[in-house]
């Protein structure tokens, strides 16, 4: 057997698996979205029916807010952890990356423990403070799993910044504020765009967390789920899935073009 044939054989199992369980189902999903009563006009319908349009807008707004918050928190913490060595640094880093392995449902439960009826906040504050099942609870849940992903991307980039740049700025008399704005943030910008795109895509597609928390809130994954299981509106569920998939895929393409490698999506 020639070397060329062997290499081709090596790729064969993956080619068969991908064709059968990825390519074929995705084509079917796209076709199924056009098989409803409305045909391909179903995509127009999404933009015209207030229920779907408001869901889309709501999901995008929450995801944008989560992205901004996660970038602010993780960039601050990431820069601090890269620039300072102190006892306990490793522990802090472990805590901040711990939720990487949590499924979305577990993240949802964490928010219930914080802001549910038996939650910590309700116990230590006077009055009745329950926010786990509101849009704010969902925001906190998404933030919970976004912080570690953004942190890792930003820290990897921050470690590559030459400390000499900051020192040069200092000797030239720049204030700490100017160093952040003129030296650190421009150097971190590609990583921040990449991390932001990952956070946005993950928040858009987060099903597990929404499943636990969003009993009263219409976010895209939950609407897809209810259209499919409760209404059996397969065409609409497929069309919304196609839109969701296209958005998250485009986001991760942006992320990869700014910084190679992506951190596991999910949640």
């Amino acid at each position: 057997m020639s070397s060329r044939t062997f290499v081709a054989l090596c790729f064969l199992p993956l080619a068969i698996f991908t064709l059968a369980f990825l390519a074929l189902p995705l084509v079917r999903l796209i076709l199924a979205s056009g098989e409803g009563e409305a045909g391909w006009a179903i995509y127009l319908e999404i933009l015209q029916k207030p229920r779907y349009l408001s869901t889309l807008i709501q999901t995008v707004v929450i995801s944008v807010l989560v992205t901004i918050a996660a970038l602010a928190v993780s960039t601050t913490a990431g820069l601090f952890l890269v620039r300072n060595r102190f006892p306990g640094r490793g522990v802090l880093l472990s805590i901040l990356t711990l939720p990487l392995a949590f499924p979305g449902v577990v993240v949802g439960f964490m928010i219930i423990l914080l802001g549910g009826r038996q939650g910590l906040i309700n116990q230590i504050t006077p009055g009745h403070v329950v926010f786990a099942y509101s849009a704010f609870g969902l925001f906190l849940g998404y933030l919970y799993f976004s912080i570690p992903r953004v942190l890792l991307t930003v820290m990897a980039a921050a470690e590559k910044i030459d400390p000499a740049l900051e020192e040069a700025a200092l000797t030239l008399g720049a204030s700490p504020y100017r160093i952040v704005c003129d030296v650190l943030l421009p150097a971190l910008m590609p990583a921040m765009i990449a991390a932001g795109a990952i956070a946005f895509a993950t928040a858009m597609g987060a099903f597990g967390t929404a499943f636990t928390l969003a009993t009263n809130i219409d976010v895209l994954p939950m609407v897809i789920y209810t259209e499919f299981t409760l209404s059996a509106n397969i065409a609409m569920a497929s069309a919304l899935s196609v839109i969701l998939g296209l958005v998250t895929w485009a986001m991760l393409l942006i992320a990869r073009s700014f910084a190679g490698g992506t951190v596991a999506a999910g949640g």
């Binding site: 290499v7 790729f11 993956l14 802090l92 392995a101 099903f207 596991a264």
Partner: protein, 263 residues
């Protein structure tokens, strides 16, 4: 260290973020071993809830371990040779193929599950078999295995190593088994740990693909959050933490080790 107000602010943000992530985790651990969470720790500590979780959900725990094991075997058998093929033929075509098999990273699990259900949902024996969930897990974890192995294979000088082996008369399959795979071991290890960790925690695909008789650990978790008392839900989460945290740490260690080879 804390010379300026800016540093103190940075430290404060870091600590608040840590508290936000850690406090509910600790609450969950505590609630899982407390007699009555509403009364607090003063009601006493107990392992009663853990045993109850074992009675109720041990089958879901074993199913998840079994699925993770099978998923690892599948990604190893399919992913490692594929990564080798991609490493041997670097170029535009390989990039496109790699991009395509990475789609499950970008497309949410819910959408993938809907797509799978529409093609294979009506195949009766397959739909209710655990291998249907396995397909979803393999689909989702495959890109991690391929990329992890491929990045190491691309970094080592595979061509020279293979030419040496070929000049000594080693056939193509021997070069793969004796040269390529052993040299890519750090990538294989990092990929394997990632696959197992992700498979055990996978929910988004599994929730759509599972049947009432095939509940995985995270599906059982969702079930307990919805219908069980807080102590049992917490105890179950605690069991999950005990399984996943060592795996996560091993995965981070192995990835850092593989990264060092790339430099």
């Amino acid at each position: 260290m804390l010379k300026s107000p800016a540093k103190i602010l940075q430290l404060a943000v870091t600590l608040i973020a840590c508290a936000f992530l850690l406090v509910p985790t600790l609450q969950s651990v505590l609630a899982g071993v407390t007699v009555n969470y509403f009364q607090g720790v003063k009601s006493g500590l107990t392992l009663k809830w853990i045993w109850e979780v074992w009675d109720l959900y041990s089958s879901s725990i074993f199913l998840s371990i079994w699925l993770a094991f099978c998923c690892l075997i599948c990604t190893l058998l399919i992913g490692v040779p594929a990564a080798y093929a991609l490493a041997r033929n670097p170029g535009r075509m390989s990039r496109v193929l790699e991009e395509f098999i990475s789609l499950p990273l970008a497309v949410p699990g819910l959408a993938l599950a809907l797509a799978l259900l529409q093609v294979y949902g009506s195949v009766q024996g397959f739909r209710v078999h655990w291998s249907f969930i396995l397909v979803g897990h393999v689909l989702y974890t495959m890109p991690f295995m391929v990329r992890s192995v491929l990045s190491v294979m691309a970094a080592i000088d595979l061509k020279t190593l293979e030419e040496g082996a070929a000049s000594l008369g080693a056939p193509a399959w021997r070069r793969f088994i004796d040269i390529a795979v052993p040299n890519a071991m750090p990538g294989v290890l990092a990929g394997s740990l990632t696959v197992v960790t992700l498979s055990i925690g996978e929910f988004n695909l599994t929730w759509m693909l599972h049947t009432p008789f095939l509940k995985t650990l995270p599906v059982g978790l969702a079930d307990s959050y919805a219908s069980m008392r807080l102590e049992i839900a917490s105890a179950y989460t605690l069991v999950f933490f005990i399984m996943i945290v060592p795996l996560l740490m091993a995965m981070q260690w192995a990835s850092a080790r593989a990264q060092r080879i790339l430099k």
